[in-house]
């Protein structure tokens, strides 16, 4: 076989069995070559060792990507839930770890999976759109029943005669000289470039629609992407239900049912009334202490603050949102520091929390009896803070006010 040295790309040895290839690998490895590779129809156990391939940095890349994924997830969840768009869900705190763990998990796995795939491709110099071996007829059997070892001319130790002798000594079927690929252009194939360009343009289309939707207004009804969620087949409160004899969807409790925290005999505690009059004292056994106050504050901030605001000024996020939208029917929530509310009997405040008033819905079904009283206690503290008598202030605070 003759060729110009300029044209030579490398030497390809062909073997009939995996074990012959593995034995050849050991010889090439021990001869100190670096730019060489093997090609087989299936993975061969132990060939990495025979080729002298060391561990790559891929595990570290994957670990780093996993930690970046975890950090991104924590940042994403914290920013969206606790900072940028505060939204109370199921009465949980704005920022609670358990609710976010699934996202931590998913992003950690996603980042590490991508890092493993793309890191592997990059470390292996893949993808390679073309290779001089592609044009070799005999190399076609690499996907079938032959095992190949290829040494590139670019290797520092490469010497045609010497390398040929080395490969001949490994009992190959043949050793072929492989020429440089002069036929394949350096440019990417036109259809590939065109396809990529079309995909890139098409990928922008959804963003264009989103941009248009954000910039324009429409009278058309919203698009229901998931009808099953928007129109669920279920009975809702106040709807008729033919399954029951009385035709109502809502079911009354069994006669005589008493919930665990209900004390039907203690009207003061459960209704805030004695003999039809709202009570002016907290129920017997109700502890006015720091723990109760803290509990009341927590319940208040979960259930009341969305409308009435954290300080009770009637400026919670729901109210602010409604004002921004300027819907004509919106009645702003009551500011809780007003005089008539400061003088209102605690029993009546308790009753409002329990049963609602005017536009305010009833919270009796969501807040337990003791917690409702704790909310009233905290409300009293808020009111006091808004109109604190001078005598309650410390000297330093009085000085600061002057």
């Amino acid at each position: 076989m003759s060729h110009h040295d300029d044209d030579l790309h490398g030497l390809l040895a062909e073997y009939e069995t995996p074990s012959a290839l593995v034995a050849a690998c050991k010889k090439v490895r021990d001869a100190g070559y670096a730019k060489w590779d093997t090609f087989t129809p299936f993975p061969i156990h132990g060939i990495e060792k025979a080729m002298g391939i060391r561990m790559t940095g891929l595990p570290w890349i994957v670990l780093a990507a996993a930690l970046v994924g975890l950090a991104s997830a924590v940042g994403l969840q914290w920013w969206t839930n606790a900072v940028d768009y505060k939204f109370i869900s199921s009465g949980k705190p704005m920022w609670s770890i358990p609710a976010n763990v699934p996202v931590y998990f998913e992003l950690t796995v996603l980042f590490s999976a991508f890092a493993a795939l793309f890191g592997m491709l990059i470390l292996n110099n893949l993808p390679q759109p073309s290779h001089p071996l592609d044009h070799l007829q005999a190399f076609g059997r690499v996907t079938d029943d032959r095992f190949f070892l290829y040494i590139e001319k670019g290797d520092a130790k490469f010497d045609l005669a010497e390398t040929q002798r080395l490969l001949d000594g490994t009992h190959p079927v043949t050793v072929d000289a492989v020429n440089e690929d002069r036929r394949t252009s350096d440019q990417l194939p036109k259809p590939l470039v065109l396809t990529a360009a079309v995909i890139a343009v098409l990928a922008l289309v959804p963003f264009a629609f989103i941009a248009k939707a954000r910039a324009t207004k429409t009278d058309k009804p919203k698009i229901h992407a998931m009808g099953d969620m928007d129109w669920q087949i279920k009975f809702q409160a106040q709807q008729p239900n033919p399954l029951f004899q009385d035709g109502m969807a809502m079911r009354a409790p069994e006669p005589g049912t008493v919930a665990l925290d209900e004390h039907p005999d203690d009207e003061h505690l459960t209704a805030g009334k004695v003999d039809g009059q709202f009570v002016r004292t907290f129920p017997a056994g109700f502890k006015v202490d720091e723990a109760t106050m803290a509990r009341g504050k927590e319940r208040y901030q979960i259930f009341c603050a969305p409308c009435h605001g954290v300080s009770g000024n009637g400026d919670g996020p729901v109210a602010q949102r409604a004002m921004t939208l300027a819907e004509g029917t919106w009645v702003p929530p009551t500011a809780l520091g007003q005089d008539y509310l400061r003088q209102m009997a605690v029993g009546q405040l308790y009753d409002v929390v329990t049963n609602g008033v005017r536009n305010m819905p009833a919270y009796g079904s969501q807040i337990a009896v003791d917690d409702r009283w704790a909310v009233v206690l905290y409300l009293r503290a808020l009111q006091k803070a808004k109109a604190a008598p001078v005598g309650d202030l410390t000297d330093a605070e009085r000085a600061a006010l002057k």
Partner: protein, 409 residues
């Protein structure tokens, strides 16, 4: 393949694969420790607090049972998926799984008091208490002494027969070399895996979850299973190391096999955390009183500290500890994490059982040590008993060559 020819010689095996005198020695020592440990437990329990004894005993029993069930699950899995890497170590797994009669025997101090109506552990054992609590009336059809015994008999008969059969067929192949035993056992292991999943789930419910009969978690069986698998592989790695140290399997079991066992320890550490969190998160989110009650106890005071500790010692620390391949291939390092996992899995069982006894403080006791050591001794003695007359490697299994020559990529 060349390696196989060196080790598996014609008519013999180029490695020491018989326990011989070591079996009786191990039986003597482990059995002795077991008898002393449990004897001391009964003595201390009889003279002091019965509740302390019962809860310590159940903690230790849930731990040792999980290792035995993990072994049985592992053997069934190897047959089911036709695993090749594990053939050389499979017999040791079969021997560990053949401890089922001993595990059945060890359950008696839990079962007999329950049968006699003692409600120290299980309130449902006392039909009057069941009758007095309206919330339990509907559950009485399942939670009663007679049905409890029926279920336990079903579990132990199934586990015992299955483990015995898998071992005896494998040993039979040592003699006859019949290759069809492989496919026969694979076929058997498909339905067996389903039955094993069901019996393990219900056993976890019966022994542990019914301590709090008003509480329920549909994932509880999987939680117990996750702990069983991770602790079995830890025990398995230690057992193989001990055998190799005593000159058995010294040439046949390599870093490659430990690497695979280590992978399972690592994977199931993550799996345990996944399941533990899945159980917690749904209950936390839904916030329904009859479900949160169980976590409420475990989220406050001393138990709260244990719960947070469990996140670290059962997941974060071993996860990063076992992450590297070098750790899994290093016997010292793998052995360290195996011991670690067995200890923290014990803590997991403690966390499941003991809040039933004291909701405020952690009822550690010398009985925890004596019960655990005693059961561990008897468990090892039972495995040693089964190992007396068998090879430690299924020498005629058609997959053995591949297992001996196995290398991880």
């Amino acid at each position: 393949m060349a390696k196989t020819k060196e080790t598996a010689k014609e008519g013999g095996f180029g490695d020491n694969i018989r326990m011989d005198g070591l079996a009786s020695k191990l039986m003597g020592i482990a059995g002795g420790i077991g008898v002393i440990g449990l004897g001391a437990s009964f003595g201390l329990g009889y003279t002091s607090d019965k509740s302390q004894f019962m809860h310590s005993y159940l903690t230790a029993y849930a731990w040792i049972l999980s290792i035995g069930l993990g072994a049985l699950w592992w053997v069934v899995l190897q047959h089911l998926v036709n695993a090749k890497w594990s053939t050389v170590v499979r017999r040791v797994g079969e021997l560990l799984a053949s401890t089922m009669p001993m595990l059945a025997l060890l359950s008696l101090p839990i079962v007999i008091p329950a049968l006699m109506g003692d409600s120290t552990l299980y309130i449902w054992a006392d039909s009057q208490k069941m009758h007095a609590d309206h919330l339990l009336h509907k559950k009485a059809a399942f939670l009663n002494r007679d049905f409890f015994v029926v279920r336990l008999v079903i579990y132990f008969v199934f586990w015992g027969v299955l483990s015995r059969y898998l071992l005896s067929k494998s040993v039979e192949q040592d003699k006859t070399g019949a290759p069809e035993i492989r496919s026969k056992l694979q076929g058997l292991c498909a339905p067996s895996m389903i039955l094993l999943a069901l019996t393990l789930t219900f056993a976890a419910i019966d022994f542990v979850m019914t301590l709090e009969p008003k509480w329920y978690s549909t994932i509880f069986g999987v939680y117990y299973f996750a702990g069983a698998v991770v602790s079995f592989h830890s025990f398995f790695a230690l057992a193989l190391m001990w055998l190799q140290k005593n000159g058995r399997l010294a040439k046949s079991v390599t870093s490659e096999h430990y690497h695979d066992i280590g992978k399972m320890m690592f994977a199931f550490t993550a799996f345990w955390a996944y399941i533990a969190f899945s159980q917690f998160m749904l209950i936390w989110y839904a916030n329904i009183p009859e479900e949160t009650e169980w976590y409420h106890v475990r989220a406050h005071g001393a138990w709260g500290t244990v719960s947070y500790l469990m996140v670290a010692v059962n997941f974060l620390i071993p996860f990063f500890g076992l992450l590297s391949r070098h750790v899994k291939r290093n016997r010292m390092a793998l052995g360290f994490w195996a011991v670690w996992i067995l200890v923290v899995h014990w803590l997991d069982m403690f966390w499941l059982v003991k809040p039933h006894m004291h909701t405020e403080h952690l009822p550690f006791s010398i009985l925890d040590v004596t019960c655990t050591v005693g059961m561990l001794g008897l468990f090892i003695a039972a495995a040693a008993f089964a190992s007396q007359k068998v090879n430690l490697v299924p020498i005629k299994d058609p997959r053995l060559e591949k297992s001996l020559a196995f290398e991880n990529f």
